[in-house]
Symmetry: none
Subunit: 210 residues, 2 copies
DNA sequence: CACCGGATCCGGTAAACACCTGATTCGTCG
DNA sequence: CGACGAATCAGGTGTTTACCGGATCCGGTG
């Protein structure tokens, strides 16, 4: 039985390329989605063996989407596929429970190998990832993380993408007032008082692309 | 004789995916490079029929690389492959002599079609590209790179920095209503409807730091 | 000169935002 | 079990935005 893969990347052209590569390696693409929210939805319906997640995606970023997926399907193996090699991202990914971290500048063979490794229960990190920071994670040291809860981050991303509070509420299936509460708490935690600074924060954090 | 293609993208994994897709369509990949400088070098040695260029690349960006390529091989057709749909980028690309502009969120079929079209001497732009600005380019080639007036840019920057309209007015020594007018005109010109998108535009433009 | 575009100003309105308070449910952790 | 944080919802208030319209002044350019 071939490995069933969920493929998430907001660039259709890239996704189709990845699909061609992975299918050529004998994997089965369970589904192909363009944003994190879709990815989580698909995972809830049909648990994939492996989820290959781009980091920067609209609606819900790859990291928080990964958390969702892992909550829905704890047996799924998540591989982050990204252009960021920064320690911060790697660490967050590992902490979220990702089993693989592959940078896009690596060859496709690297991704294929990552999929095989995580399927065997191993972890796989692309060459070039700082080993020191990984050690730090494994010895569970405390590195400053961002103070926001996943839900708050979710709301922040949507707001930074230009959604109104009402739209955010609609997208998340919560009431307008709840969405507003999250937004307010984000602002208070970050000591930010306008949307503009919120957007810049989200960009700095890599939550959204400028 | 198959179309000989030069493929430039800094993400190896993406490049390999594109190669798989394009070879499946019967094209010949003349070379595959990871930055703009390499692309220009290869083009000088072996003129490609078509150059598929990513926009964001190290060493030399796709746009300036395209200029180099066209200087070396005026008969080559350049297609920009990018994630930016901003008028500014499109316009710059067209002005540089690019014959195609394909956004990565489109299907691979779009790129294939673009290659065929430019080979036939036609221009090809992905759906979603603002037709008005393209028309403007085609009619009179001296279109402002930046549609904003200096004053409007000034207001945009302050707004993106998190200032309220009232504060902007105070800082510029103009009335609240005037500041609002500028802000409105910026939004209308850029077809933007919320502060969040305004901020992202300013960041992309390098007007402010994220 | 007459026209145009940039910059300035002003009126109004509905929606969204920024900020506050207080409350309930739920899972986790000591 | 009880405390706690996360997530949910709701009431209210004043400010700001987004968008509409029209207007004046001024410096170039045809």
């Amino acid at each position: 039985m071939p490995t069933r893969i969920l493929l998430a990347d907001d660039h259709l052209i890239v996704r189709q390329g990845l699909r061609a590569l992975l299918e050529g390696e004998g994997f089965e693409i369970l589904a192909e989605v363009g944003d994190g929210r879709e990815a989580a939805k698909v995972a809830r319906q049909r648990c994939p063996d492996v989820a290959v997640m781009d980091f920067a995606m609209p609606a819900l970023n790859g990291l928080d989407a990964s958390r969702e997926i892992l909550r829905a399907c704890p047996r799924a193996k998540v591989i982050l596929l990204t252009m960021h090699t920064e320690d911060h991202y790697v660490l967050e990914a590992l902490r979220a429970g990702a089993k693989g971290y592959v940078v896009k500048t690596q060859a496709a063979a690297d991704l294929v190998r990552a999929i095989h490794e995580v399927q065997r229960g191993m972890m796989y990190l692309s060459p070039g990832i700082s080993q020191t920071i990984v050690q730090a994670f494994l010895t569970k040291s405390d590195v400053p993380v961002d103070p926001l809860t996943p839900r708050e981050r979710e709301v922040l991303q949507l707001v930074a993408e230009g959604k109104t509070t009402k739209e955010v509420a609609g997208l998340l299936g919560i009431s307008f007032k709840t969405a507003e509460s999250h937004r307010m708490r984000v602002m208070r935690k970050l000591d930010i008082h306008e949307t503009a600074s919120l957007v810049r924060y989200a960009v700095r954090r890599g939550l959204i692309q400028p």
